[in-house]
Symmetry: C2
Subunit: 406 residues, 2 copies
Amino acid sequence: MALVVQKFGGSSVATPERIQNVARIIAETYLSGHNLVVVLSAMGDTTDDLIELAQKINPNGSKREMDMLLSTGEQISVSLCAMAIEQMGLPVISLTGWQAGVQTNSAYGNARIKRLAGERISKELDKRRIVLLAGFQGINKYGDITTLGRGGSDTTAVAVAASLHAELCQIYTDVDGVYTADPRLVRGARCLEEITYDEMLELATLGAQVLHNRSVEMAKRYSVNLEVLSSFSGKPGTKVKEVVRSMENMQVSGVAVDKNIARLAVIGLKDQPGVAFKIFSCLAKERINVDIILQSIGRDDTKDISFTVAKSNLEKARLLLEANKDAIGFERIEASDRIAKVSIVGAGMVNNPGVAALMFEALYSNQVNIHMISTSEIKVSVLVDITDADRAVQAVHDRFFSTISE
Amino acid sequence: MALVVQKFGGSSVATPERIQNVARIIAETYLSGHNLVVVLSAMGDTTDDLIELAQKINPNGSKREMDMLLSTGEQISVSLCAMAIEQMGLPVISLTGWQAGVQTNSAYGNARIKRLAGERISKELDKRRIVLLAGFQGINKYGDITTLGRGGSDTTAVAVAASLHAELCQIYTDVDGVYTADPRLVRGARCLEEITYDEMLELATLGAQVLHNRSVEMAKRYSVNLEVLSSFSGKPGTKVKEVVRSMENMQVSGVAVDKNIARLAVIGLKDQPGVAFKIFSCLAKERINVDIILQSIGRDDTKDISFTVAKSNLEKARLLLEANKDAIGFERIEASDRIAKVSIVGAGMVNNPGVAALMFEALYSNQVNIHMISTSEIKVSVLVDITDADRAVQAVHDRFFSTISE
């Protein structure tokens, strides 16, 4: 009897009616003969509502107490969903993270799963019960409740699937699967049948927001078969795996855009060893993540270094560099938040040297100016003006997908 | 350093502002040098809201899942209150029932505390932390969450106080303490300084609703010093203990009324042994509690038995007796739910034989007709028409308290 893990996000369990809908999907899977562990997120806006309540009392409450508070959201979801399944006459039990033995480190608010301890889940599965597990939460060595941070419930699902060697881990969400581009933004975007872990990782980083990176990384490491699908449409979704069958010669799996970035340029650096180290260690100390880095070829005896950061970090990064102006040694800083990053991702790219050129051609013929370029084995990213972003994504998507879309 | 246990009810923590008010009371006690365990109920209507949500999904959800659901309410209270105390700069930690080791039996929805296991609370107190404990909940031997039923948070507080040998257990509520009668109902009702456990037990049973019976029983068994007081007024409350100092010769501590009862009369029973047994074992099997029982003196060779039950059980009890008419052997049943029970309670009564007579006199001079009478060592109850109830309570209260009220 094969084990299937299913995960339903907050929008899938936002109302009593939706919980009953989820219960029907669960019942169907169970009755088709599978053992079943189901991970649930908190209902709709529950987490935000709890955060707002906490803010009213203390805007700086400790993370330990925030985790104690927020973990109730998933506990409510699993118990309510259990009742919905009970009404269908099927055997079911809900478990919190600590009951299921989801052991984490003690980084409250952003904890990492260390292992799935204890045998509670297995014991319940042996009784042929459907196990509903509260996502997003665990317990540390002190016996305190932790939460896993953004995308936490996806991570819970993959961790359970990995630990119990599930045949399949289905991530139910409010879209039909992973698309070649954001369907709200790009005409002709279509749902992919399959995608590799690596492509999914690049797409998640690039802002596709279907699956959280941590869960995909974990799925890759433990070879968990993932499937992303909709809890509303009933359509088959997108399978995420190590290797996918050759897909109609598809070199590119998806086009992504990220408008939530900003660019900093440090102008007039001395052309000598150590300046890059000084800049980025200074940012790293303050936990500012840097994405694309570009270093100009030196003219005279100076050079420039440009890089992108999250828009929310722009001001902090700028002030930090200004404060270290003497130590680093530069002339001035230029900053811009009117930019966007457009990327193509595809595992087939590595064997098709012309892919990047095709992208640049599509942008050129649509009069999109490129500010920066960054490439990896399975990704090409370009920085463009934010006003060009939508047009750029559509142009690139058309170039790669128009011939094979229906 | 003496240990004090405080408990705050749902209305005391109903809003962020009230939680901050509770935090101030807690801080004051802590800063006066006490070790402190604080038990909290769920915020305001949280529990009712969760029940309503569950009803929409499944009106007959299992009690196990209901406990999983409802226990989140107290977890939310303790974490929010901890944040309020954190903001005052005091050391604090919130604990759930399972974290604190509140072990119960497995009667979901109405579990009994077996013991307080583990050393978590003591360890936290040793660090001079204020411990906020989620009331109303525990954990059974299977590692599942249980709830304690009505008045559960009071019971949690008394159990903790008993187990840790607290000097005092303060029950904060929305009234100033235990009154000689319901102050919303009776003119001249006044707050008692002290009351014995036994009197409190009789008053709780009789519908005074300040403290739940289970918590008072436990307090009596383990000699826990209780105090009932208001979280809003700041006034001294009512102390509940084994023996109280002679109180201005008060024979009666309180007058209570219970309108939530009904009377059944079984008419024309054979006057032979066993009929009472047959009636009440039949009701006991269906868990119907019987209160006052009155048996008429036999006429001819028949007799009548009257008794009271909770109004909600009236119909069930009537049908049950009708169904067993042949086995029991009676002529007919008369039922009425237009009655009320008025009672006086007082530990001094046993040494003052005239007390009951004073009560009857007060009722007589106010033209209140008495249907049934029941007495114990510290209590006299009478059954009257429901339309006479308020007048009866006022008359009896005036008789015993008017001379000593301000």
